[in-house]
């Protein structure tokens, strides 16, 4: 079957708004925040022009955005929202409740630094602070991936083995506002792919009423959390199944990560989202010079596919994990500490070092990436890393 597809030039936010339009959810409750705002604006226009029949609730805060989305989802609606930065921080309390209720909400998060100081540009401090909320997290390198991930996320979230909310993350301004060429799927294809939502319990079932959100004391609380943890584990295989199905309709393949010249790479950079694009450029350049360098771009970090990541990096001699968020552990960023911990049982471990980079939208160019590979080369020659955690490109 020839794949039907349409090439367009769109910003990341426009692409994501179009993915949501094609999903045409029952309810959207959203609040504007830079750099997510266009999504809400585009969607408001879709509603105003009758292109979708979504019930849109223009709430008075992100806390209420997530609360209303939860209310709608518990009522049996397919419900979505989108946010960034302070907005995600404000809805933090409700993130736990969405997952605790096992509601399949999909939320694009346009990554932006969290205050203070206030800053509107990209880093990952917003979503990194939400890693323990019971949401799946899928990261996107560019507009195409953000579009594709939103569509896949709907299916992953609603899978009866999962029933957990999903964040689809992409970089503020870099991806959200830059115009890229990408391929949109036909409306009907997306509609068929996401299918009908069949909730397990709903507030509108008056024949067998359900109580959502009771007080659960120590006698049952652990059991309910254990169920949630099981669902997160189950999400691992569902993510791959949905990716395989998605490849059939799009021709684009997704997994837990993307490897770039990884197979025989000795020096590897691990980095999320748009910076991976920059890193690919440098990998090409260095490969042309005969350097054994490679890239691993994790796509999914909740659940954390530890075994697969370890396997992917098992041939590497030195690994630089680049975190776009300071977590103040003093032991490195979140991605670094988790990936490093994943190697604890591995028979062979590469040398590992961490870079905290790109905070508050600081550009990370090919020059910085080249410098990281140079550091790795020295580490490899020395047989040890000279510094575990480095703030990349910070003036002293």
């Amino acid at each position: 079957m020839a794949l039907e597809t349409k090439q367009v030039a769109m910003t990341g936010n426009e692409a994501v708004a179009n993915a949501i339009k094609q999903i045409n959810p029952d309810v959207i409750a959203a609040y504007p925040i830079t750099p997510q705002t266009d999504i809400v604006q585009y969607y408001s226009s879709f509603v105003a022009d009758g292109q979708v029949d979504t019930q849109m609730v223009t709430v008075e805060s992100e806390h209420s955005a997530m609360s209303a989305t939860i209310g709608a989802s518990a009522a049996g609606a397919r419900a979505m929202t989108a946010t960034s930065s302070q907005g995600l921080a404000l809805m933090h309390e409700m993130l736990h409740i969405a997952s605790g209720f096992r509601l399949p909400i999909v939320m694009p998060v346009v990554n932006r630094a969290v205050s203070a100081p206030i800053n509107i540009h990209c880093d990952h401090s917003d979503t990194m602070a939400a890693l323990t909320t019971g949401w799946l997290q899928i990261y996107s390198e560019n507009a195409q991936e953000a579009y594709d991930n939103v569509i896949q996320a709907m299916r992953i979230a609603e899978d009866p083995r999962v029933r957990l909310p999903v964040m689809v993350c992409y970089d503020g301004f870099i991806t959200s506002h830059a115009v890229e060429n990408l391929f949109l799927l036909p409306d009907e294809t997306v509609k068929q792919f996401v299918g009908e939502y069949n909730p397990k319990h709903t507030l509108f079932d008056f024949d067998s009423p359900v109580t959502f959100g009771p007080l659960v004391l120590p006698d049952y609380f652990s059991e309910i959390k254990a169920q949630e943890a099981d669902a997160m584990r189950a999400a691992k295989e569902v993510i791959l199944e949905i990716a395989e199905e998605f490849a059939k309709i799009s021709g684009r393949k997704y997994g837990y990560y993307e490897g770039y010249h990884l197979e025989d790479a000795e020096r590897v950079i691990v980095v999320l989202s748009s910076t991976a694009g920059t890193a690919k450029e440098v990998v090409d350049e260095l490969r042309a010079q005969g350097e054994k360098v490679g890239l691993m771009k994790p796509r999914v970090i909740r659940p954390f596919p530890a075994e697969e990541f370890v396997k992917a990096l098992s041939g590497a001699k030195v690994v630089a994990v680049m975190d776009r968020a300071e977590t103040f552990s003093t032991q490195g960023g979140q991605l670094f500490t988790e990936l490093r911990a994943a190697f604890y049982e591995a028979p062979t471990k590469p040398l590992m070092r961490n870079y905290i980079f790109g905070l508050g939208g600081r550009d990370t160019t090919t020059a910085e990436i080249r410098r990281v590979f140079e550091d790795l080369k020295k580490d490899q020659e020395r047989g040890s890393v000279d510094r575990k955690v480095t703030h990349l490109d910070v003036r002293v």
Binding site: G100, F101, R102, L103, R163, K200, H201, S208, P209, V210, T211, F212, G213, P214, V216, D219, Y220, S222, E223, I224, A226, Q227, D230
Partner: protein, 93 residues
């Protein structure tokens, strides 16, 4: 009572039941209890309207007595009864 294992509980901590708290007997809390004298009752149902539980048994608009399984003995019914002690009287448990 053995509690259910985690795989047997409904997802998301929901309670897919209707008013099953009737199985929980709050009547044990009582230190005073209302005693009902049908012969003095005019079936105005104020006791029923003001009962917080509800623990006043009513059928076809007629007061039938107290649900002692749940009555906590607050005494609102006896206090608000227009027939006073002729229909409802609080006595020590």
């Amino acid at each position: 009572m053995s509690l259910k294992g985690y795989k047997d509980l409904p997802e998301g901590g929901v309670i897919p039941e209707r008013g099953n708290s009737v199985l929980y007997k709050t009547g044990e809390w009582r230190s005073m209890k209302p005693v009902y004298y049908p012969e003095g009752c005019v079936h105005c149902l104020l006791c029923w309207a003001f009962c917080p539980e509800p623990a006043i048994k009513v059928e076809n608009g007629r007061m039938l007595g107290i649900d002692y399984d749940h009555c906590k003995g607050c005494g609102i019914c006896a206090r608000e009864c227009p027939r006073k002690e002729k229909a409802l009287q609080m006595v020590r448990e």
